[in-house]
């Protein structure tokens, strides 16, 4: 007998005749709710993300990165980037090459107001997961139409088969006396550029 058969047999034995399958009440908030961008900014800032609400992306990125070097995913729109900043596009870069960059710019798939969360889904404008992980600065460009009010709406918008990374603030830990402290292994600086076209 394989271990699979053994375990499944044990489960059936354990359940015995109690095969009633209870229903699941979903009385919590699920429908689309109005998006409050002010609240999103507040929630992002509460977990130490720096938020820029701007009509212009390249200028903002220039201000954030200064003289630093950027890596970007292959599908990031070129007109988001300030022309004078040195940029390396990810074409199977090594971990060392990605680590050596001062920052990474990505788009996002979805953002959640209530929790102050952005979600990346590895689309061409967001790139491989390693890209937004190793540099110490992550700049994420977000458009208002990508923002939803609640977690259920975000789950409904995402595609499950893709590699997904939910990000709420920069890397942090609660392991020292159960207080949140920013700055462990992930990017220690998270900037959200909320791009509100004029």
């Amino acid at each position: 007998m394989s271990s699979k058969e053994l375990i499944l047999g044990r489960i059936r034995q354990a359940l015995g005749s109690s095969t009633a399958s209870p229903g699941v009440p979903r009385d919590y908030r699920r429908g689309a709710a109005p998006v409050d961008l002010d609240l999103l900014v507040e929630r992002l800032a509460d977990y130490k993300a720096v938020v820029h609400r701007v009509p212009d992306v390249p200028d903002t990125i220039r201000t954030i990165i200064g003289a630093g070097r950027l890596v970007v995913p292959p599908g990031l729109p070129a007109d988001w980037l300030p022309p004078e900043v040195p940029v390396t596009r990810d074409d199977q870069l090594s971990a060392a090459e990605i680590s050596a960059a001062d920052g990474v710019v990505t788009a996002a798939a979805v953002a959640v107001v209530e929790t102050g969360t952005i979600v990346l889904d590895a689309s061409p404008d967001q790139g491989r997961r390693i890209l937004s992980l190793l540099p110490d600065l992550h700049i994420c460009v977000l458009r208002p139409e990508q923002v939803v009010a609640s977690v259920p709406e975000a789950v409904a918008r995402l595609t499950p088969g893709r590699p997904l990374t939910w990000i709420s603030g920069p890397s942090a830990t609660s392991d020292i006396e159960l207080n949140r402290v920013e700055g462990v292994h992930g990017p220690r600086n998270l900037h959200i550029v909320l791009w509100e076209s004029a």
Partner: protein, 474 residues
């Protein structure tokens, strides 16, 4: 009588589900440590406040709890189908699924998989399942070095210590103790390190960076395994999880069979319940989700090990099976007056606190953890705090009935029943009770073995007059 296919307890001789001593003995040691009690009180008070504030922000918290509870009950009732569906979906997405009946088999599977890669070091994400089966010890015995990358696990590993909390295994350590451990045990640490928490976090970042970049195999647990998509999810804070799930060539995930979640949509419930109940955050900093293997992104070899190790024995108990609903948030630890005073080590198992008191005895069989169902005042705070509404107090009482009882207690109860059935005898007994003054205040003067009973209980002082005497003399 047992035969193949009967639900089985977690085997003895492997894993961390059984302590060296009973809860009362271990608790006595812990209670004598004032620093430990201060650390625990500080940490649990902090987390209770944080968690309460973010839970109060949600108008539908109770509805989410009800949905979470029902989803877990549904999962248990449909477990065989959901596990087979998960296996099918993971396999279709390029992963390999293994089934482990117990800790020994799981340790063997993981060790063999690592040996096949030829690597001698693995990076690990904090995982209760691998703690439970003592995977680190098994790997070390096979010449493989496991490196814990979660900050609290690292503190425990460097301090040659044991975890004492589900979420924050080093909760019993304060910042200055952590600094001392780092200075003593962390190679290459800056001797000028202070006990400022951001500095301590920074030291861990520097220490592990090179290890993350150069290790080819990672081992993780899983918070959720979604049956209808084959997606695995890990919820974390520091980014060590993302490193382990992204950088290596091979990823091995060990998941208890009860962690399966029916559908993708159900994440909308658990992703709201878990962070608020656990770290008291609206959302934890990072949650990673992956489905099998993604070409060109992350590990190209993915193995999922589904672990029983006593879970089917828990499932066989119609009252106790609710313990399998646990999503490992640790809210019940943080509100428990007993845990706050004794800390996690006293429970002997990797699962401490109220959930541990009902889970560990059921995984091992009650005889191996007979004192744990008594490690509670039955105040019910754990039930109120549980995001999936596990009725921990009722299961504690249920398990107390199964635990072996001393013969003296049985004899005393039989004598009491006989007496109470006979009014004349009962009246005489009431008068005799006044003689209990001889037994000292609150029963402290009882002779052995009854003094053991009085060590943690007060014998009520008999009233000056019984009801019957008062009625007669009215």
């Amino acid at each position: 009588m047992t035969f193949l296919g009967m639900p089985a307890h977690a085997p003895r001789g492997v894993g961390h589900l059984r302590g060296d001593e009973s809860f009362p003995a271990a608790a006595r040691t812990a209670l004598a440590n004032p620093q430990l009690r201060r650390n625990l009180q500080h940490a649990t008070t902090t987390i209770r406040g944080k968690s309460g504030r973010v839970i109060a922000e949600l108008p539908d918290w109770e509805e989410l709890r009800s949905a979470g509870s029902a989803l877990k009950a549904y999962t248990m009732a449909n477990l065989p189908r959901l596990l087979e569906q998960l296996e099918e979906k993971v396999t279709a997405a390029g992963g390999v699924v293994h089934w482990a009946a117990d800790a020994n088999e799981a340790n063997r599977i993981v060790t063999d998989l690592i040996k096949e890669t030829g690597e001698q070091r693995v990076i690990k994400i904090k995982s209760m399942a691998t703690q439970e089966i003592a995977l680190n010890e098994a790997l070390e015995a096979a010449g493989i070095t496991p490196v814990e990358t979660d900050l609290a696990e690292l503190i425990v590993q460097l301090g040659h210590d044991k975890p004492s909390h589900i979420l924050v295994p080093a909760i019993h350590r304060n910042r200055s103790e952590i600094r001392e451990i780092f200075l003593r045990e962390m190679p290459g640490v800056d001797p000028a390190l202070t006990d400022d928490p951001p500095e301590l976090a920074g030291a861990a970042r520097r220490y592990l960076r090179e290890t993350f970049l150069s290790t080819r195999v990672a081992v993780s647990g899983a918070n959720f395994g979604i049956a209808d998509t084959g997606t695995l999810a890990v919820v974390e804070s520091e980014g060590n999880g993302r490193m382990c799930l992204t950088l290596p060539d091979t990823l091995i995930t060990v998941m208890g069979i009860e962690k399966v979640v029916p559908s993708w949509q159900d994440l909308e419930v658990f992703l709201q319940l878990l962070p608020r109940a656990s770290t008291g955050e609206r959302m934890n900093p990072y949650t990673s989700m992956w489905t099998g293997v993604t070409p060109g992104d992350g590990p190209q070899n993915f193995h999922l090990v589904l672990l029983d190790n006593g879970r089917t024995a828990v499932l066989a108990d119609e009252v106790g099976r609710q313990a399998l609903h646990c999503i490992r948030c640790s809210a019940c630890l943080n509100v428990c007056p007993v845990y706050e005073r004794t800390g996690g080590h006293a429970y002997g198992s990797v699962y401490p606190g109220p959930i541990g008191a009902i889970l560990s005895p059921q995984l091992t069989g009650i005889e191996d953890n007979a004192s744990l169902p008594y490690a509670s005042s039955l105040c019910g705070a754990c039930f109120d705090a549980c995001p999936v509404k596990i009725d921990i107090p009722s299961i504690l009482v249920h398990l107390r009935n199964q635990a072996p009882h001393p013969r003296t207690e049985k004899a005393a109860m039989a004598a009491a029943a006989y007496t109470m059935d006979r009014p004349k005898l009962y009246e005489r007994a009431q008068r005799a009770a006044k003689l209990s003054k001889l037994l000292g205040k609150r029963g402290r003067g009882l002779p052995p073995p009854l003094n053991g009973w009085a060590a943690s209980r007060d014998l009520p002082a008999p009233p000056p007059e019984s009801f019957r005497d008062w009625w007669r003399g009215r």
